[in-house]
Amino acid sequence: MKRHLVIGSAVGLAFAIFAHDSTAEACCDYQTRQVWVHGRYLNAAPGDAVVNQLTSSSMIAPIINALGERFSHSMIVYDTASRVTHNVSDISYIQTGWTCTHPLDPYNMHPIGPGAQAGVYPDTSFNSFMAGMVLHGAGKAGCWAQEYMDTNHNRVAGGIGYDLQGFSQNVPNGMCVELLNDTCGVPRPAPKYYSASTVYSAASAMYNAVYSQVHSQTSWITDLLCGGAADSAANQVINTMLTGDPWNTGHGNWSVAITNVVTPEDLVTSYPAAKREPASLSPGYYTTKEVRVCTPNKCL
């Protein structure tokens, strides 16, 4: 019985190996096809951190600017294909038009998920493929965000998510620099002190930006039916950042000092100048190439 089992297993194994080989022969071949060649950071090796320069169209640009900083996101290069730990948070994940009183869906805001996608090519969203700085040897190769949202905004793994409150408090994996520190071994830089007036100024700037954004997307009819949506949405964002309360659509106390958060700017300035350099980018493009194409469905 035991012998039969062994023989049977060997046959099964041989069959499995044969079947695998024949499957590979049958399903994959070389074809001339149009391909998308992903963008890459040319001077970043696996384990290096890449810190994105702030762009004026970034959603958090008003806050970063008001704090006098230049960088908006940080990530670790995962492998030689230039994939990275995680993308920037995709603001479109937050559903708009939830209710008149809460124009942004509070359930989408707290937590918001650590970056929209993890282990992605940096050009899948231009948001994470911007000029910036490479910090050589800052973290661990092969590190990735433990939890992430896939391209359809489905939560793929459990765990602690990005938290907009990470802008004002030290929340585990709260924002990108904390995530790199908590998960990928990047040393936590010393936090800076932000005075109450600096925080208020940043909150006002963010309020202004969200207000403008919502106002520019609503028509007069929306405004007629749902008056004050821009104001409520702006308050929701600031309140989530400062107090973790996305349900609060009113104006809270935004004149508070912040003492224990670290930002991408802190990561760059605390890193030795000799081990940091501007990121060299090669954006993605389409071309025609002979590539190995496998069609799994035909193998069944």
């Binding site: 096809r33 998308w36 008003p62 030689t80 109450a196």
Partner: protein
């Protein structure tokens, strides 16, 4: 005889008298006085006060009079009998004028102008009225110890309706002539001019924080030294008439490449409440490029890059102006937006002592008959002073297996370039070669230049790359229609590769269907190692 003598003497006396009268008349002027009248005695900071030196009686030929104005506030603009005073420093400011008549007579007069922070609304959704400086959540920051200061703040619309945008601008000066290296921020947005809406909805006067800082002074990690003042805008209890909002987005990593959208809001007072129809949009970009006209609300523009902008300034602000016009060509509304670009290369030189070269290379290698792949590379040095001296090239060979470590080799500059120096504002051309026999298992050859600059000894940097294999970091386009579209785009543009921006351009021109713009999703997520 005697009578004759008397007549002669009389004539002489009359002549002398006439001469004396003529001399007196030539020197005589009517009594006059001067006083200074200010159009407002008390104003908010950065609000211009018009001062008029009124001479009484009014002079007949005012152009022959001279007026010399001085002020304890320092800044008086204009000349003649009417000038403007504008300052952000609270307090009483004496303005003094010395007036000189054509006859050379001088008289002087003074006026006192009081600059006082007004009561204003603070807080956003439920604002409160701030009446005392100590209650100001964004108080002014005046630092006499700093070598720089704000010298002017302007507001294009001091009074606005709800939803109406206002453009605030700031100007600064620096004792060492480094004003162009300061970082301005208006309502938290970096720029010398910023377009914004008043942060509130309750009618009243609002304070917009205006800040200028010097990131070069503080040690790494320390807060930036800055000064802060406020611009004041009155929000009236009215809805904005037709207004044009302009928003921007950066579609590529190239920050000079900006996409704009204009959205028209509201309608003229009394007009029916329906979305007005815009026939055309006229765009000007504030960078000396010709204006453009579109029939859709979208436009894309590439601003001058750092090389074209030139050195000597950290942040350049371009004010984009858009006009929405109806079918008759009449302007329905005008919108403005600021675009702020940084001179990153020059900033790197100051902060990191690094001379970063701009590297231009073709992303797709040429394949020679021998099987060798080549990529032409140009190194550009936009610095006006430093020469980049290259000492070596670092080759990083990226294996096609994603989880294998790259191998690093140091090679001679002569493998790619004929010379090892890139002169100030100069360029150096070279060719990277790679044959399959070098290594078939390599998918990317990444090359960094190594060197130092002369005369300052800065670290020289720059990188380029050649794709040698397509087994990694490549997605096959599965959609047959998209595939056809890409092939057509390459044929139309006579290129061996096309970018997303190329496709967008062809779609906009109507040469390709919009379906071609579908983006690859990014492939499978890697498993943790």
């Amino acid at each position: 005889m005697r009578k004759k003598i008397v007549l002669r003497r009389g004539a002489i006396a009359i002549a002398v008298l006439a001469i004396v009268v003529a001399l007196f008349a030539s020197r005589w002027e009517r009594t006059w006085s001067v006083r200074v009248v200010a159009d407002e005695a008390t104003v908010a900071p950065w609000t211009a006060v018009t001062l008029h030196a009124k001479v009484s009686p009014s002079p007949e030929r005012e152009s022959e009079w001279t007026w010399k104005w001085t002020s304890t506030a320092g800044v008086v603009s204009g000349n003649g009998s009417m000038v403007q005073l504008k300052t952000g420093t609270p307090g009483e400011h004496r303005v003094h004028v010395v007036v000189r008549s054509p006859r050379g007579t001088e008289r002087s007069a003074d006026a006192i102008v009081t600059v006082k922070a007004p009561e204003f609304m603070a807080g956003l959704a439920t604002p409160i009225l701030v009446t005392q400086p100590e209650d100001d959540p964004i108080p002014d920051v005046v630092r006499a110890d700093l070598p720089f200061r704000i010298v002017d703040v302007t507001v294009d619309k001091p009074e606005v309706c709800r939803g109406e945008r206002v453009m605030v601008s700031v100007r600064a000066e620096h004792d060492e002539g480094k004003a162009d290296w300061l970082v301005p921020a208006i309502a938290g947005r970096v720029g010398w001019s910023v377009s914004l809406v008043v942060p509130g909805s309750k009618p009243g006067r609002y304070k917009i924080p205006v800040q200028v800082g010097d990131p070069g002074r503080a040690p790494a990690g320390a807060p930036i030294d800055y000064v802060q003042t406020g611009a004041y805008v009155v929000l009236k209890d009215c809805e904005g008439a037709m207004s044009l909002w302009v928003t921007s987005q950066q579609p590529t990593p190239d920050e000079e490449d900006v996409r704009f959208r204009a959205t028209l809001f509201g309608s003229a007072p009394g007009a029916p409440r329906e979305q007005p129809r815009v026939a055309s949009y006229v765009w000007s970009f504030g960078d000396d490029s010709p204006s453009t006209t579109t029939t859709t609300p979208d436009e894309r523009h590439v601003f001058p890059n750092e090389e074209a902008r030139g050195p000597g300034k950290r942040i350049f602000t371009f004010v984009v102006r858009v006009e929405a016009r109806d079918e008759s060509g009449a302007v329905m509304a005008t919108g403005k937006l600021d675009v702020n670009l940084r001179n990153h290369h020059e900033e790197l030189k100051l902060t990191d002592r690094r001379l970063q070269l701009i590297v231009v290379f073709h992303p797709e290698p040429k394949k020679e008959e021998s099987g060798e792949r080549t990529v032409d590379v140009t190194l550009k040095n936009i610095d006006p002073v430093e020469t980049a001296n290259l000492s070596a090239l670092e080759f990083r060979l990226m294996p096609c297996a994603a989880d294998q470590a790259p191998s690093v080799q140091r090679r001679s500059v002569s493998e790619v370039f004929r010379s090892a120096s890139v002169l100030p504002r100069g360029a150096l051309e070279g060719r990277l070669r790679w044959s399959k026999t070098d290594s078939a298992e390599v998918c990317n050859v990444d090359v960094s230049v190594i060197g130092t600059s002369h005369p300052s000894g800065f670290t020289v940097g720059g990188a380029f790359s050649m794709r040698t294999g397509y087994d990694l970091g490549v997605d096959v386009v599965d959609d047959p229609d998209q595939s056809k579209g890409i092939a057509r785009a390459m044929a139309l543009l006579h290129k061996s590769f096309v970018t997303q921006e190329d496709l967008e351009g062809l779609v906009k021109a109507g040469d390709l269907p919009p379906a071609v713009l579908k983006r690859p999703t990014g492939g499978p997520v890697p498993r943790p190692r």
